[in-house]
């Protein structure tokens, strides 16, 4: 039985790969939204994402398929499909069957990430994702990346960041973060807060701005004494039970390479610890449609109401 009162697959943009994972001419499998998918980068550099099973006899194109020009050839009978999923060649037949078509996904590649758009009703994207200009900019580091596959619903991550009370209990913050402003507009949910945290032993006041673009993509800006970083946090439902969580961080480089190295290691340790505190709770918790909240709990009701717009079936039963 599902632990959640709504569909595991909300609408919006979701990470499917990092750009550097797909070189030109490369084919890779992916799992998302309960489906086997195939990703490939054609000769012209464009990334295409399609359902993986060939409509001919069901072979998985991601396992042994090959890129020819801007098309992908099935490993089983050599049928070729273009980036839109249309069959362009059957090697032993001049007539292409009209039903020979693969479902293709809407893809955007920006800031070193490949995103796909999911909509349960097949509608075109309702919004575009903004860029993170610091990614790849001079003076900023390369990506520092983390990934987890967690048995939970994608919405738990969103609730977590505005759940101010859990920070000192789960993550041992000295004081819970103070929420300054909440900016909710259509698909965007922006939280601005300050928190005090020890960075390399020194207590620092830090400015944090977290922005959700739907439930799949979060941009975070953290500015504190020695640390200035931008984060792209993405969550992608794998199947009805599991979510792939990826974090990609760039930080402002210091002229001192030793300092950069220390900062890098500190962040790796810090983020891993933070998540390892959260994961067992997420994997075992229940989603309460009517949680028992108290005034200092953070805007959990607000984020639930905002999140409900991404579910086609409107299944959220009494979102607080």
């Amino acid at each position: 039985m599902s632990r959640y009162p709504f569909t595991p697959y909300p609408n919006g943009w979701f990470r499917i790969a990092y750009s550097d994972e797909l070189k030109p001419g490369e084919v890779k499998p992916a799992q998302a939204f309960g489906k086997d998918l195939v990703m490939f980068r054609g000769g012209n550099g464009q990334v295409h994402v399609m359902d993986a099973h060939c409509p001919h006899l069901g072979a998985n194109l991601a396992i042994g398929g090959s890129v020819i020009g801007d098309t992908i050839a099935c490993p089983f009978h050599g049928w070729r499909f273009d980036g839109e999923g249309a069959c362009v060649e059957v090697p032993y037949c001049s007539k292409i069957p009209p039903r020979a078509k693969l479902a293709s996904w809407v893809v955007r590649e920006q800031d070193g990430v490949v995103f796909v758009h999911f909509d349960a009703e097949g509608r075109p994207p309702a919004f575009e994702l903004p860029r993170v200009p610091e990614v790849g900019a001079p003076g900023w580091s390369r990506f520092l990346r983390f990934q987890w596959r967690i048995r939970m619903h994608i919405q738990e991550i969103a609730e977590n960041a505005v759940d101010t009370a859990h920070f000192d209990v789960v993550h041992h913050f000295t004081t819970p973060p103070a929420l300054h402003s909440l900016d909710i507009k259509e698909h965007v949910f922006r939280v601005h807060m300050t928190s005090a945290r020890r960075v390399l032993g020194i207590l620092n006041e830090s400015e944090v701005e977290i922005t959700y673009y739907g439930l799949g993509v979060v941009h975070a800006r953290v500015e504190t004494g020695p640390v200035n970083l931008r984060t792209i946090l993405t969550t992608t439902p794998v199947d009805e039970e599991h979510v792939d969580v990826h974090i990609a961080i760039v930080f402002k480089l210091s002229p001192n390479p030793l300092k950069n190295l220390i900062l890098r290691h500190w962040m790796m340790k810090e983020i891993a610890t933070d998540f390892h505190h959260d994961i067992p709770i997420w994997e075992a918790k229940q989603y309460l449609s009517r949680p028992l909240l108290c005034p200092d709990d953070g805007p959990i009701g607000k984020i639930r109401r905002w999140a409900s717009q991404f579910y086609s079936e409107r299944q959220i039963a009494g979102a607080a």
Binding site: H56, L57, A59, F76, Y92, C93
Partner: protein, 344 residues
């Protein structure tokens, strides 16, 4: 993700369950097949028999400590003995013989392979075709454990399109149209193999293939290579274990057309036959590798998008239906793949 197949593993037909050599002179083997546990034993007369694994008395597994006594298998728990028909013949308590019975599968041994007939008890076991045995050399045995279903393996025999895309064969010419005859299916092709038989450097080769599948657990291919004067026989035995797991066994043996008489020539011929058999088996394993990769990841599409030149896939699938019992594939699809993925 849900099952990739709309049908289960309780198939009817002859299926390989062991190599003869695994049993030794008398011996007991444990096997999982058709989603159930079985024991295979060889009695003192040399006859082989497969029985369901659990003793009907108090449920002990006969394959863990059971012993062969004459032509019977003795349960390790209370010493009840069962004969080849599965009937309990004696208990150590003496007294009246209990009316206990274990399911026994018709079992036969041929060409170094132990085969069982699985199916509904009321279905009589049809005979496997006789094959001319005398002239072939010793077979080479190979097996793979893969994630697939027997129907997918046998479907490849009528799949003309994959011969070129997967195996690089050119100029496929059907010699005999696909013919079905009860549980048997026959097809014949002539193909040109671009990669020679004995490695990537050998020359393109014309081969004639005569294929006979009998049920979904036995497929015999006779390959004639006129240039080398070779006749290669490869038998493929897919046996469903449980779920999506499959044991794929294969034997390869061959006959050389040419050869001089005389005793010394006979020895040389035997050695040469052995050597070429091993090479042909390796060639087969190389040919099978891309097939296995596809089988392990493909889905079974109920409504495949076929094109002209595809081979009689639809006819094959209709033929294959006879091997499913009443519980399996009762005419209606159970799972709809691909489309089912999006629905929560």
């Amino acid at each position: 993700m849900s099952s990739r197949y709309p049908f289960g593993v309780s198939l009817s037909g002859w299926f390989a369950i062991a190599w003869s050599a695994e049993l030794g002179r008398t011996g007991v083997l444990n096997r999982r097949a058709f989603g159930q546990e079985w024991v295979v034993f060889r009695g003192e007369s040399g006859e082989v028999q497969a029985l369901a694994a659990y003793c009907p008395h108090l449920g002990a597994h006969l394959g863990h400590g059971g012993r062969v006594v004459g032509e019977q298998l003795r349960c390790p728990f209370h010493g009840f003995c069962f004969d080849r028909s599965g009937a309990c013949q004696s208990t150590p308590y003496g007294g009246k013989r209990p009316r206990l019975h274990i399911r026994a599968l018709p079992t036969q041994e041929r060409d170094g392979v132990v085969l069982v007939f699985h199916g509904a008890p009321q279905v009589p076991a049809w005979p496997l075709p006789e094959n001319p045995q005398h002239a072939y050399g010793r077979p080479v045995f190979q097996s793979w454990r893969i994630r697939s279903h027997p129907q997918e393996i046998i479907e490849n025999t009528v799949d003309h399109g994959h011969f070129s895309a997967v195996h690089g064969y050119r100029g496929l010419r059907p010699l005999n149209p696909v013919k079905t005859d009860g549980p048997h299916l026959r097809a014949g092709y002539e193909v040109i193999r671009t990669q020679g038989l004995f490695g990537p450097w050998s020359r393109p080769l014309v081969m004639c293939m005569a294929i006979q599948a009998s049920g979904l657990g036995y497929s015999r291919v006779e390959v004639t290579i006129p240039r080398y004067g070779l006749l290669i026989e490869q038998i493929v035995y897919p046996t469903p274990i449980a779920g999506e797991l499959l044991e794929l066994r294969a034997t390869t043996r061959l006959r050389l057309f040419h050869g001089a008489g005389g005793r010394r020539a006979a020895l040389g011929r035997r050695l040469l036959t052995r050597f070429v058999s091993l090479a042909a088996a390796r060639g087969m394993a190389r040919d099978l590798a891309p097939d296995i990769r596809i089988w392990e990841h493909k889905a079974y599409l109920q409504r495949p998008g076929l094109a002209e030149g595809d081979g009689p896939i639809g006819r094959f699938r209709r033929w294959a239906r006879q091997f499913y019992g009443h519980d399996e594939m009762a005419g209606t699809p159970v799972v709809k793949l691909a489309a089912a993925g999006a629905a929560p």
